[in-house]
Subunit: 216 residues, 2 copies
DNA sequence: GCACAAAATTGTCAACTGTCCTAAATCGGA
DNA sequence: TCCGATTTAGGACAGTTGACAATTTTGTGC
């Protein structure tokens, strides 16, 4: 029932500018620990002290690196979101494959990622936060805009006859549709074992609707 | 930019058994206020004192009706989830309409509900909570199972040739697909104004995939 | 080895949290 | 109207929270 070991880093630190190497490592430990608590016990449990003690350090030390809780949350989200952004950037460039197949591959990757513990746990927290925090809201939708971009491109190849707006709506639907699976077929959800079957349905459905869509 | 006035109650109190009418009204006020805070400011802001003072009452009074915070949260979720359950129950029974049309109607209702402030704000909180709280997890998936039931029925009418499992997977995909729209095209989200367009795409896509699905 | 910045530690602060308790006020049925 | 059940007020409690100041330890570059 455990998770396959993830080779990809689930957290991308911003480049170190000045400061000692040790401090940089400390900050990475802090963010990694904070993420761990967020995933395992939720946002409410992710207090400054909780993070500090889980790091084996004192509160004052934590507040030295991240003066306020808001600073910590901001940097944590930035680090996690950045890790997705570099992953997506790597996927976009895969030429010599027909667009249908590329669409299937991209969607397959995204849906399989949804089955991972980190994604299943992290994003619902993010969605909830985005409803009440402007910074989270903007950063999150910035990420999703990047994640949608490849979809829009592929759809444009498949359906050059469609308007830009229609293509966007299709990509939006496909993207949102996949994200919705998180709650129902994500890690340790009731229908986690149906994820592969639903993935097949989803991909077939997406290709169909892109091929057959007619503007109203 | 405001919400059209909702006539349907967004919170269904459990039947009053014993006690004075006053106490019953107080409990309703408490739950309604707690929901309001949850929607407007998030789960973290929904503290006992915050709820009590927003109700214009003292903390001691709140803890009389809901001794612990967990009691309050449990009852709040039950009340909100129940309101959805009675709505769904009303929709199920609408005979004399072809299944495609019924599928379109049910999905249309659900997607339009996703555009409401209450739904857009409440459910992401629920999803996040469900990841770390067994009670919320079970109650939430109980709700979704009921919400999916009509879909499964309609799909069974449209595709009696399919296996039970295949029908379920289709319903699961359709249901999850719609829920995913919450984050992107829900109330005051970046693409809220695309919700009607995406609704058309979604419904067409759902009917297509149910009609054309072939077991692997 | 020195000087100094960076890092880490300790302790304190007011504010807030959930829970519990008792006394007073209020309500509804007899 | 009166009495018991129900509801409310008010306070006390221990524990937690985020923020901050003062201090010591550590590491780096010269």
């Amino acid at each position: 029932m455990d998770q396959p070991p993830k080779l990809v880093t689930d957290l991308l630190m911003p480049g170190r500018e000045g400061g000692y190497a040790k401090g940089y490592e400390t900050r990475e430990l802090i963010l990694r620990t904070a993420l761990h608590i967020l995933i395992e016990e939720g946002y409410r449990a992710m207090s400054m002290r909780r993070v500090a003690y889980a790091c084996g350090m004192r509160l004052g030390n934590l507040t030295y690196h991240y003066p306020t809780r808001e600073d910590l949350v901001r940097e944590l989200l930035n680090a996690v979101i950045s890790s997705y952004e570099v992953e997506f950037a790597a996927i976009v460039h895969a030429p010599g494959v027909p667009p249908d197949e590329r669409l299937a591959r991209v969607c397959g990757l995204i849906i399989e990622d949804i089955g991972s513990k980190k994604t299943t746990r992290f994003f619902p927290e993010l969605w909830a936060l985005a409803n009440h925090d402007t910074f989270v809201y903007e950063r999150m939708h910035e990420l999703y805009a990047r994640a949608r971009a490849p979809l829009v491109e592929i759809i444009a190849e498949m359906r050059p006859d469609l308007s830009e707006s229609a293509r966007f709506d299709l990509a939006l639907f496909i993207s949102a549709s996949m994200e919705g699976l998180t709650v129902f077929a994500g890690f340790q959800t009731p229908y986690a074992e149906r994820l592969p079957a639903v993935e097949q349905i989803a991909i077939r459905s997406f290709i169909d609707i892109v091929r057959s869509f007619r503007a109203p």
